[in-house]
């Protein structure tokens, strides 16, 4: 083998072996989007597993507090961390945490701070103090609100009041209030469903919403990966039709060769689906004749 062939061959294989997976790309993207402070910025590299554990603790705290308490707890967790003189906000603190048990301990500490922060933040006058550091939940909400302000980009899949009510009925969700109507409710709710006490349902909705955004952005690989995650985490769901519709749209966006057949099958199985029109348009499938 000549010099150039041997060297070039090894270099090509190296490029192939070291190219990161799509899953890694997505995980890093999620962590960035969650507003986790980069460690290098603070001169303390590594240990981001602690951040993940900390974030998990925030989620756990949110689940424990319930839907309304979830947002309160998530928000107040930051306040609680700042008020007692803690040097760093939870996310930043978590990013400095040591791996493994240290991260878990910190996560537990954050959970406790969340509760304490809740009591503190209710305060004497009952007015929560301004947040010092924006938590991940707020970041997600803000991003969703921003998305709400882009009416010129219609969603491929509209999750309207019917779907939201459907979701609210599922699992342990018990809604005393009807799902809101109007423009604000025509998409996924940025906040938990009114009165919903199931954080799992809310998480599933949020995940489904991210999938929808990925489809709308033309990122079918990401959408399919998120759908896989949904399938793994929530195998028994009341939103399977929505998932199937998103999966189908992902294939259509990716221009898969069998997407028209898939679309026709979907339309046959779900002739009254609210997504029929969009699927028909995007996947160039013929809608079945509607029953009289």
């Amino acid at each position: 083998m000549t010099q150039s062939h041997l060297v070039d061959g090894y270099l090509a294989l190296t490029r192939q072996a070291l190219t990161p997976s799509l899953a890694l790309r997505e995980r890093v993207s999620e962590r960035l989007a969650a507003g986790v402070v980069p460690n290098a910025e603070r001169g303390a590299p590594a240990a981001a597993e602690g951040a993940a554990l900390g974030a998990g603790a925030v989620g756990l705290g949110a689940g424990a507090l319930g839907a309304e308490g979830a947002l309160l707890g998530a928000g107040l967790e930051v306040s609680g961390a700042v008020a007692p003189g803690a040097a760093l906000a939870p996310v930043a603190a978590a990013s400095h945490a040591a791996r493994g048990q240290a991260g878990a301990l910190l996560g537990g500490g954050l959970l406790l701070l969340g509760f304490l922060g809740g009591y503190w933040a209710r305060g004497i006058d009952g007015q929560p103090p301004p947040l010092q550091v924006r938590p991940a939940v707020a970041a997600v909400q803000e991003a969703q609100q921003q998305e709400e302000l882009t009416p010129d980009e219609p969603a491929l899949v509209q999750l309207g009041p019917a779907q939201l009510r459907h979701a609210a009925r599922s699992g342990s969700a018990r809604s005393s209030n009807p799902a809101p109507r109007g423009a604000g409710a025509s998409r996924f709710a940025a906040t938990p469903l009114p009165g919903t006490r199931s954080s799992a349902t809310r998480d599933e909705l949020l995940l489904l919403q991210r999938t929808e955004r990925a489809v709308r952005a033309g990122n079918s690989a990401l959408a399919l990966m998120l759908l896989g995650e949904l399938e793994a985490q929530y195998p028994r769901s009341q939103l399977l039709e929505e998932r199937r519709a998103l999966e189908l749209l992902s294939y259509c966006v990716a221009d898969a060769s069998d997407s028209p057949q898939r679309a026709e099958r979907f339309l046959r199985e779900h002739p009254r689906s609210v997504y029929a029109e969009r699927i028909g348009a995007l996947c160039q499938a013929d809608a079945p004749p509607t029953a009289p």
Binding site: R15, L32, A33, Q146
Partner: protein
């Protein structure tokens, strides 16, 4: 990815871009000179490969990549365009990799697998094993280089960055880059041949 697909992806990523910018609290003056989401998509693989070749262990790659693009998102507005964006990112990669290596040495991490499972090209297990083996040899070679030559190796030989850009990024004469590329190829050739003889 085909050029048309890529451009289509860029065009349709505006929603995600807004979300990313919002959640990172990135304050880019309007109109934004560079789109972080596009930069992320285009350079993520390059940054990760470079991090690995600069000595970041597989287990620390996710943290390191997050560090790199966290900095990129915050500093993107400062990018002047004098150097290429790729070499600008590489400078950040070098700094983060240096920090990661220091941490790894401190923690004395146990041996880790060379690569995480590939999901991009879905090769056969044999091809994957072959690529991993080749990469381990190249990384071994890379580990023995000093920082300056290592940077030339990663940029010029692995990533095919033009010599002129490498010279500009590393602030060394163009002639030095060419001579280092030639020397590195020869050294790698000898190294690989010696390894093949050992088999």
């Amino acid at each position: 990815m085909k050029a048309a697909d890529k451009s289509a992806g860029r065009r349709t990523f505006t929603g995600g871009q807004r979300q990313m910018v919002s959640s990172l609290e990135l304050r880019v003056p309007s109109p934004a000179p560079l789109d972080f989401q596009c930069v992320y998509l285009e350079h993520f693989d390059f940054a990760c490969r470079s991090l690995r070749l600069l000595g970041v262990a597989p287990g620390a790659l996710e943290d390191a990549a997050q560090d790199v693009f966290g900095i990129v998102s915050k500093r993107l507005a400062e990018f002047s365009g004098e150097a290429s964006l790729r070499t600008w990112i590489f400078a950040i990669v070098q700094r983060v990799a240096s920090n990661q290596r220091r941490t790894q040495r401190r923690k004395q991490q146990p041996l880790q697998p060379l690569t995480e499972p590939l999901a991009t090209s879905d090769p056969s297990p044999e091809a994957h094993a072959q690529a991993a083996q080749a990469a381990s040899l190249v990384q071994l070679f890379c580990d023995a280089l000093d920082d300056g030559r290592r940077a030339v190796f990663v940029l010029a030989l692995v990533e095919d960055v033009p010599a002129r850009e490498v010279a500009q990024a590393l602030e060394i004469p163009l002639f030095t880059v060419y001579s280092r590329i030639r020397a590195l190829r020869e050294q790698l050739q000898e190294f690989l041949e010696s390894r093949e003889v050992e088999k």
